[in-house]
Amino acid sequence: MSIMVENMKEKILEIKDLTIHYIIEDSVVKAVNNLSLDLNRGETLGLVGETGAGKTTTALGIMRLVPDPPGQIIGGKILLNGENLLEKSEREMRKIRGNKISMIFQDPMTSLNPVTTVGDQIAEIIRVHEKISRAEAHIKAKEMLELVGIPENRFSEYPNQFSGGMRQRVVIAIALACNPELLLADEPTTALDVTIQAQVLDLMNKLKEEFNTSMILITHDLGVVAETCDKVAIMYAGEILEYGTLDDIYNNTLHPYTKGLFGSIPDLYRETKRLNPIPGTIPDPTNLPPGCTFAPRCTHKKPECEIHRPSLKQISDTHKVKCILYDV
């Protein structure tokens, strides 16, 4: 029964075997390796992983904004509503960026052009994708400002006159101004104070509901994921190790890495003397281990793990995991 429900949902994004490498002098940084992901319309997917796992590169890959020297998309498919983005021309991609897919970045302090007013920056994206006059674009931009909780009379102010949280709201306004189908949010609240974080996340959720935007939220914070996401993908060394609904991941954790992530969060209700980090560090992306990339740090390691790279196995209609423990 539930298989049918899941498959009836409309897939807005399908990533199949995406591989992105950075070629620097003599070494090759394997940032994203055979990554596969799906996203249904209206859902929020949390892309979770440690720093260096390749999350930002994946998002840039979807936007085709991977800086070309030194980065290259080696292979794979990225299907947006069935069309492969990797086959589109640069001109076609420009129509998609900001319009069908928007991206917001981590540091609001540097994401805005310091010498243009915030209002103009919002109006700019509107005028790129819609053929309306300057006056009309200004009106729409002011509406966006109000929508994100900024008084519209601040239209002509410059980014340096705003705090971090408010700047991020402007960034969100810009990203949603053309009502994109997909929003990629790369750690949008990491650089903000905890109290502001909650406000910004609330805002994003509210707008997401209102416009039925699908979202990929990149984060390393499992708490944020629990608050905002429908589905979760755990990323490590350029691959997805586990994927499922919130319930799957949080209540039926399968992969040893995911268990390790949960285990390392200090429990508010228990007295512990020491933290439980996962031993070891992420592997060197220029020199990935053969076999399972997590094996060197895994407590459940078996000898086959170091030779044979497991593949993503479907455990339930929503839950997938890449680990030899679950190869039936």
Binding site: F105, P114, V115
Partner: protein, 318 residues
């Protein structure tokens, strides 16, 4: 904040006047003048007063009457002579600035976009030559090649627009090189910023990203450089005018050196130094207007100052 600096400049020029050999009174009256006439003139000019009094008089003279002394040669006021000739110098400097700015910025942008290509390497090498070449030699060689051998442009004088081509290009060479290098490094730095990535993520074409977003930010420090270089152009025009026989302030000063007409040299140096400081001041003001970050900081400081003044007043009554 500029006043003590200008005062200091006056002091240095005054010191230079003091160490210059020769008795001004004797020189003005010429050879064969009688000793008592010389003495009388010295009294009249206040040349026998102690150092500090003479300095104060000097400053007073400059500031209130714009008195820069009397030319030994023409016996007219140096300030009059300077003001008569300065417009040509200013025009030359202005022409050179405009040419350098346009050329330098364009080449700098192309270099930055095509970093490490042949164009970039060539442009950088040429820029280095541009700052190394002595401008008076460049002028002489330009005359040889374009005037004498090719006959395209005139060699001296300032009788029409074509007379300004070689001088302006010669004077502007090193400035072009400096502006080009500055533009290149400023653009390279700006292109790496996060907001450029945001601009691309909006779906803007690369050209709009470069011109509307990158250039607008990169130009801010470049404008400062252009302004500062203008002062250097005033300095360089001294030589270029001499080589191309343009009757501006520079040529006048150099001729005065040959004729040992010291008041003209000292007055000219003082005048140009003041002009230089004035241009720098204008550049500072323009800079604070075009950079919104500084503009709003300025407004915020003014508001804080008036707030704290209000507080001060309240406390004083306790």
């Amino acid at each position: 904040m500029m006043i003590p600096v200008l005062l200091g400049v006056l002091f240095i020029v005054f010191l230079i006047i003091e160490i210059t050999p020769g008795d001004p009174a004797a020189i003005m009256l010429g050879e064969g003048a009688r000793q008592e006439d010389i003495e009388n003139l010295r009294e009249k000019l206040g040349l026998n007063e102690p150092f500090l009094i003479r300095f104060v008089n000097y400053v007073k003279g400059v500031v209130t009457r714009f008195d820069l002394g009397i030319s030994y040669n023409t016996k007219r006021a140096v300030s009059t002579e300077i003001l008569q000739r300065f417009p040509k110098t200013a025009l030359l400097a202005l022409l050179s600035s405009i040419i350098s700015a346009v050329l330098g910025i364009t080449l700098g942008i192309i270099s930055a976009i095509r970093q490490y290509t042949i164009f970039d390497n060539l442009a950088t090498a040429l820029a280095l030559f541009g700052v190394s070449i002595p401008n008076f030699w460049q002028g002489l060689m330009s005359i040889i090649i374009f005037s004498i051998w090719l006959g395209w442009l005139p060699a001296s004088g300032s009788y029409g627009p074509e007379y300004w081509v070689l001088p302006a290009l010669t004077l502007g060479t090193s400035t072009t090189a400096i502006i080009m290098r500055m533009t290149r490094s400023s653009m390279l730095e700006v292109i790496r910023q996060d907001y450029i990535r945001t601009a691309r993520a909006k779906g803007l074409s690369e050209r709009v990203v470069i011109v509307k977003h990158a250039l607008k930010n990169a130009l801010i420090p470049i404008v400062t450089v252009i302004g500062i270089q203008f002062g250097g152009l005033l300095e360089g025009s001294v030589l270029v005018e001499t080589v191309f026989a343009i009757p501006g302030l520079g040529k006048y000063m150099i001729d005065a050196i040959r004729q040992r007409d010291f008041p003209v040299v000292q007055g000219g140096v003082l005048f140009l130094a003041f002009a230089f400081s004035f241009v720098n001041l204008i550049v500072d003001i323009i800079y604070s207007y075009i950079d919104p970050r500084i503009k709003s900081q300025y407004k915020r400081d003014k508001k804080e100052k008036s707030d704290s003044n209000k507080n001060k007043k309240e406390v004083a009554y306790e």
